[in-house]
């Protein structure tokens, strides 16, 4: 069984267009049901507040009813760039621009009737990741979470530094909650970012660590 892709009838230039409003054409093209954008401001006594945000799009699974031999690339290449654009436009809006972003991550939740590979297809290719990295002005590989999801569940999304992923202070997670998504025939795709590290990060860094090996197990103090 195959699905009928939604035909792209017009060519538009999204490179400079904001999708914060008036995005009906994009919504229709990807079967978008809703977008939920979460942000939190954590005041910091000695400086700027830390802002952390997620933006989550819930779309119809374009591969509903297909089998494991079905080629995923055409729909992934068509849909993933639009998801990246919608989600990063919202992250940049609430976080104050790419210059403010220090950490990022991504996630996809597949509804019960889909395949884990469907979730991966929308976030684990350059058609999503490269565009998100470019929009947020990062260079790091994007850390991620993916899996099956039921409506009403929470999902915790990892983030790390956008240009130096081994920077320990920026290892952090952010939790999202979707009351009614993803349904069995839907996929939820998430982009996440933070303007700073964990509050009060103070567990050193790989640059300051002394070498640690299993040799230390030979002289453990109890």
């Amino acid at each position: 069984m195959t699905t009928t892709p939604l035909a792209a009838t017009t060519v538009v230039d999204l490179s400079t267009r904001s999708t914060l409003g008036g995005y009906d054409d994009i919504a229709a093209a990807i079967g978008l049901r809703k977008i939920s954008t979460f942000s939190e401001e954590i005041p910091h006594a000695e400086g700027d507040s830390i802002l952390r945000a997620t933006s989550t799009a819930v779309i119809a699974n374009p591969w509903k009813g297909t089998g494991t031999d079905f080629e995923l690339a055409p729909e992934a290449e068509r849909i993933a760039p639009l998801l990246s654009k919608l989600l990063t436009d919202r992250l940049l809006d609430v976080l104050g621009g790419a210059g403010k972003v220090e950490a990022f991550g991504k996630a996809a939740l597949i509804g019960a009737g889909g395949e884990i590979e469907h979730a991966g297809a929308l976030i684990h290719t350059p058609y999503f990741g490269n565009l998100m990295r470019e929009a947020l002005e990062g260079t790091s590989i994007l850390c991620f979470a993916d899996g099956f999801g039921q409506p009403g569940e929470s999902l915790r999304i990892p983030m790390w530094h956008k240009t130096a992923p081994a920077t320990r202070s920026h290892y952090q997670t952010i939790e999202i909650f979707l009351s009614d998504a993803p349904n069995a025939a839907e996929i939820a795709v998430v982009a996440a970012a933070s303007t700073g590290p964990r509050p009060h990060a103070r567990i050193g860094d790989r640059n300051t660590d002394i070498p640690v090996t299993s040799e230390i197990l030979k002289e453990i103090t109890l």
Partner: protein, 183 residues
Amino acid sequence: MKYRKLVTIVEETTREGGRDVDPVARIAIVAAIFDNPWAGQGFVEDLNAGIDAVASDLGALLAPKVIEALGAPLEAYGKAAIVGLEGEIEHGSALIHTLKFGNHFRDAAQATTLLPAVEKRGPAGVHFDIPLKHFTDATIRSHHQSIEVSIPDAPHPGEIIIALAAATGGRPQQRLAALSTEL
């Protein structure tokens, strides 16, 4: 107004019931999480000092933020007070059920009706549904709706969440007969 964190959620609904929602339905929620002003004081008979210290500042903080987050004309609104497990529901009610708090939102939204509310006590991450009604006529049935919220690490036992919610319209695909048709 000192708070541990400030959470903003914006939901944009583009499809409902298998049909497009035009224009896109937007709901915004802004929530402040802060120390319960009566924490550790036992039963406080007169809550006015705490109300005076917090309620107006809280309304002034949240009202412009939720209107900005909505980003389009407001047609429905509501509020929430979620108290951590060591507090009384009355503590949350005290902060939202005064004109000192509510008038900031009513004035900013050019609204005239009472704000519908949820008051609840629970652990961090507790789910709560904020009711919203029309901002100038609470009998307008199309605008009766609610939005579910959960904030992962709030409220702590000694904290309170106070939230405002705003919507650009009624329920997506609303199509119930008006109240007047049944009177």
